[in-house]
C-alpha cells in the first residue's frame, strides 16, 4: 500500500498545481485517490471529534455490499434459466444441440456440453457472466464517463453516488437487454435525471429507475413481454437483444394478469410448478437480475438495516401499504361490483413474492436522495408506493407490474410530502408556544 501512497503523492502536483499538465482533469485524479484511500481528515486536534465517520463512500459501499447477494444470484440463475429454456426447446424438438450458438465468453472458455443430462455448474456460471458482465461494464462505463466529464467541466470532485446506481441498473434490466439500448438509457438518466439537477444528492428521481423507465417507454419490446426474461446468445432477425430464438414464457405477474378466479392455482401449477412459492422465494425463476430471488433481496435488506443505511420506515410502510391494498382493493371491487382482474384473486402475500416489489422497496425506494427526509414523510411515501403498485397490478390493464411507476410517481411527490409534513410541524410548534 505504501507504494501506491507514494505514487499517488508524487502524482498530485501534476494535477493540483495551477498550471500543471493535467490540471483540467483533477477531479479524475481525486476520484482515483478516494477510491484507493480513505480521506485522512478523520478527527480534529481539538474541539468536536468525529466519532463515527459515515461518509458518502461508506454509505455507498454498504449499499453495494447489500446488492452483492442479488448480483451473485443473477450470475448463477441467468445461466440456470438459459439452459433450462434450451433444454425445454430441445425436448420439444424445436432445437438441436448442434444449433446452439455460443457467446463471447463461451468462445473463450469452451462451449457448454448440451448432450449430457444437466449442464455443469461451470457452464452455468460462464453463461451468467457472459450476459451480466457486459451489462455491468456498460452501465458503469457510460455512467462514470458522463459523470467524470461533468465533474471536469464544473470543476467538482467526482462523488461515489454512481457506484450504487450503476450496480442497481444492472440488476433491474433483463439480462437480454441490447447493450446499445442500455447505453442510451444510462446516458439519458445520468444527464437529464441527475447531472442537470446538480449531480449526486440533488436528483429528484432515482437515476436507476429513470434508466428503466426510459427503456420501458422507449423500447417496450425489449423491456416487457414474454420473450425477454430469459437471455440467450442470438438475436432473431429484426429483434435486437440477446434472446433464445423461439422461446417464450410469461412472467408470474403477466400470467396472473390474464388469469381469472384461479390466479393462485394457475400460478402454482403453471409449467410444472415453475412459479411455485418456493421458486418465487428462492429465485429459480426468469426475470430481471434483482427481482429473481426474494431471499437474496431480504439478505440485502438485512445489510441495509443493520448498517442503518436504508430507512426501515420506508421498507415497513411499503410492505404494509402493499399488503393492505392487496387485501382491501379486491374487497372494495367486489363490493361495488367492479370488473375483477386476475391480480385481485391473488393472496396479498403472493403479491409480495411476485415481481420486483421487494427489490424496489428495499433498494430503490429507500434511496435517501429521492425519498422524503422527514420520518412521517417516509411512512406516507412507503405506504403510497405499496398502494400504487397494487393499483397498477390490479386495475391498470396496460402494465402487469407497477413497482417502477409507483416509485417514480412518489419520487415526484416526495418534496411535496416533505413540505406538508414540515409546515404541519411548524404550525403545531407555533401553537404550542
Amino acid at each position: 500500500m505504501q507504494f501506491l501512497r507514494n505514487l499517488v503523492d508524487k502524482q498530485r502536483k501534476l494535477y493540483h498545481q495551477k498550471d500543471s499538465k493535467f490540471h483540467k482533469v483533477w477531479p479524475l485524479f481525486d476520484a482515483m485517490e478516494t477510491f484507493l484511500f480513505a480521506p485522512d481528515f478523520r478527527a480534529g486536534k481539538k474541539g468536536v471529534h468525529v466519532r463515527d465517520y459515515v461518509d458518502l463512500k461508506r454509505v455507498m459501499n454498504s449499499v453495494i455490499l447489500a446488492m452483492v447477494p442479488c448480483l451473485l444470484w443473477a450470475f448463477w440463475n441467468t445461466g440456470v434459466q438459459h439452459f433450462a429454456a434450451v433444454a425445454q426447446l430441445m425436448g420439444d424438438g424445436k432445437m438441436a444441440a448442434g444449433d446452439y450458438v455460443t457467446g463471447w465468453l463461451q468462445g473463450l472458455l469452451g462451449a457448454p456440453d448440451l448432450t449430457v443430462e444437466g449442464v455443469s455448474s461451470f457452464d452455468t456460471i460462464v453463461f451468467g457472466l457472459q450476459r451480466m458482465l457486459p451489462i455491468v461494464i456498460v452501465s458503469y462505463g457510460v455512467g462514470l464517463a458522463i459523470e467524470g466529464l461533468f465533474c471536469i467541466i464544473r470543476k467538482e470532485e467526482v462523488s461515489e453516488g454512481y457506484l450504487v446506481s450503476g450496480m442497481l441498473i444492472a440488476l433491474i434490466v433483463p439480462a437480454s437487454t441490447p447493450l446499445w439500448q442500455l447505453a442510451i438509457g444510462v446516458a439519458f438518466a445520468v444527464v437529464l435525471g441527475k447531472e442537470v439537477f446538480g449531480g449526486t444528492g440533488m436528483n429528484i428521481f432515482n437515476p436507476a429507475m429513470m434508466v428503466r423507465a426510459f427503456l420501458f417507454f422507449a423500447f417496450p419490446a425489449q423491456m416487457s413481454g414474454d420473450t425477454v426474461w430469459v437471455a440467450g446468445n442470438t438475436s432473431p432477425t429484426g429483434v435486437p437483444g440477446n434472446l433464445i430464438d423461439g422461446y417464450s414464457e410469461p412472467t408470474a405477474l403477466a400470467l396472473v394478469k390474464t388469469a381469472g378466479e384461479n390466479a393462485s392455482e394457475l400460478l402454482a401449477t403453471h409449467a410444472d410448478g415453475m412459479y411455485s412459492h418456493a421458486n418465487l422465494f428462492f429465485g429459480n425463476i426468469p426475470g430481471s437480475a434483482g427481482e429473481m430471488s426474494k431471499l437474496m433481496v431480504l439478505l440485502g435488506a438485512a445489510v441495509l438495516l443493520i448498517t442503518g443505511v436504508g430507512s426501515w420506515r420506508v421498507m415497513v410502510a411499503g410492505v404494509i401499504g402493499m399488503l393492505g391494498a392487496a387485501f382491501v382493493v379486491p374487497i372494495l371491487a367486489d363490493w361495488s361490483h367492479l370488473p375483477m382482474s386476475g391480480g385481485m384473486y391473488l393472496q396479498p402475500w403472493e403479491h409480495l413474492l411476485c415481481g420486483g416489489f421487494l427489490f424496489g422497496i428495499v433498494f430503490m425506494a429507500t434511496d435517501p436522495v429521492s425519498s422524503p427526509e422527514t420520518n412521517i414523510g417516509k411512512w406516507v411515501y412507503g405506504l403510497l408506493i405499496g398502494v400504487f403498485t397494487i393499483l397498477v397490478r390490479m386495475i391498470n390493464p396496460a402494465y402487469p407490474e407497477g413497482t417502477m411507476l409507483a416509485i417514480l410517481l412518489l419520487n415526484a411527490f416526495a418534496p411535496t410530502i416533505d413540505h406538508f409534513v414540515v409546515s404541519a410541524n411548524m404550525k403545531r410548534r407555533l401553537k404550542r408556544s
Binding site: L192, F197, I204, H337, P339, F388, P397, G402, A406, D418
Partner: protein
C-alpha cells in the same frame, strides 16, 4: 383508445352512488360514471402533464408551494364555474340547432365557439373577482390576485373545448371542470415543492429557472404514465 378502456372499466351499472346523478338524456357518453370522469381528468389525462395546457401560469407561479396552492384552488374554482357555464352557452346557443328554442332550428353558430368561450370566461372571472372582493375580502386576499391571471389561461379554455368534444352532460361537465382543476393543482404543487428543494442545487447556468422546470415537468409527466391505460 384510452377513452374506450376507461369507458369499459368504469361503465358498470353498479357504481350507482356515482352514477345516480347522471341525467340519462341519451348523450353519446351516457352512463359514464362521474367517478370515472374525475379519475380520468385528475390522473390519466392530467390537463397539465398529459396535454401541457396552462403552462404559462404554471411556470410563473411554481416557485413557492403556498402561492401555487392558492393558484391551484383558483383554477379549480374557475374551471368548476366556466366549464358548466360554457356548457350552457354551447348547448343553448352555439351548437348546431341549439337555437331551436328561439325558433331558429337551422342555426349553427359553432364557428363562434372560441370567441364566445374566451369572452364568457373572462367575463365570468371578472364578475366573480368583483363579487369576492365585495363580499369576502379575506377570500379575495387569498384568491383574488390569481383570478385575472388565469382568466386567459389555455387550461381553462382547453377544458371547455374538451367538454364540448366529449359531449359531456351538465353534471358531467361540473365534475370534469372541478377534477381537471384538481389535476392541475396536483401538478403545480408537486412542481413547486421540487423547485423549493432545487433552490440550493447546483444547476448548470443555462438551465437555471425555466430550463430545469421544463425538464422536471417532463420527468413528472413520465411518472404520471403510471395511470395511462387505466
Amino acid at each position: 383508445m384510452i377513452s374506450e378502456t376507461i369507458l369499459t372499466s368504469f361503465d358498470c351499472a353498479s357504481l350507482n352512488w356515482a352514477l345516480s346523478a347522471v341525467p340519462q338524456d341519451g348523450s353519446p357518453e351516457e352512463g359514464v360514471s362521474l367517478l370515472g370522469i374525475a379519475l380520468r381528468a385528475i390522473f390519466v389525462e392530467n390537463i397539465l402533464l398529459a396535454f401541457f395546457l396552462g403552462m404559462c401560469s404554471y411556470l410563473a407561479i411554481c416557485k413557492r408551494v403556498d402561492s401555487s396552492v392558492g393558484l391551484g384552488i383558483a383554477v379549480i374554482f374557475v374551471l368548476g364555474l366556466t366549464v358548466p357555464l360554457n356548457w350552457v352557452i354551447q348547448t343553448y346557443i352555439l351548437a348546431p340547432g341549439a337555437l331551436s328554442w328561439a325558433g331558429m332550428p337551422n342555426s349553427d353558430l359553432s364557428y363562434l365557439q372560441f370567441l364566445t368561450f374566451i369572452a364568457s370566461i373572462a367575463a365570468a372571472v371578472q364578475v366573480v373577482e368583483m363579487a369576492v372582493d365585495k363580499f369576502s375580502p379575506k377570500l379575495y386576499a387569498a384568491l383574488g390576485i390569481f383570478l385575472p391571471l388565469i382568466a386567459v389561461n389555455c387550461a381553462i379554455l382547453g377544458s371547455s373545448m374538451f367538454m364540448v368534444e366529449r359531449d359531456y352532460t351538465f353534471t358531467q361537465s361540473v365534475v370534469y371542470g372541478l377534477s381537471s382543476g384538481t389535476g392541475w393543482l396536483l401538478a403545480i404543487v408537486s412542481m413547486a415543492a421540487i423547485r423549493w428543494k432545487l433552490r440550493t442545487a447546483h444547476i448548470p447556468g443555462p438551465l437555471k429557472g425555466l430550463g430545469i422546470t421544463f425538464i422536471t415537468t417532463g420527468l413528472i409527466a413520465m411518472a404520471f404514465m403510471t395511470f395511462s391505460g387505466i
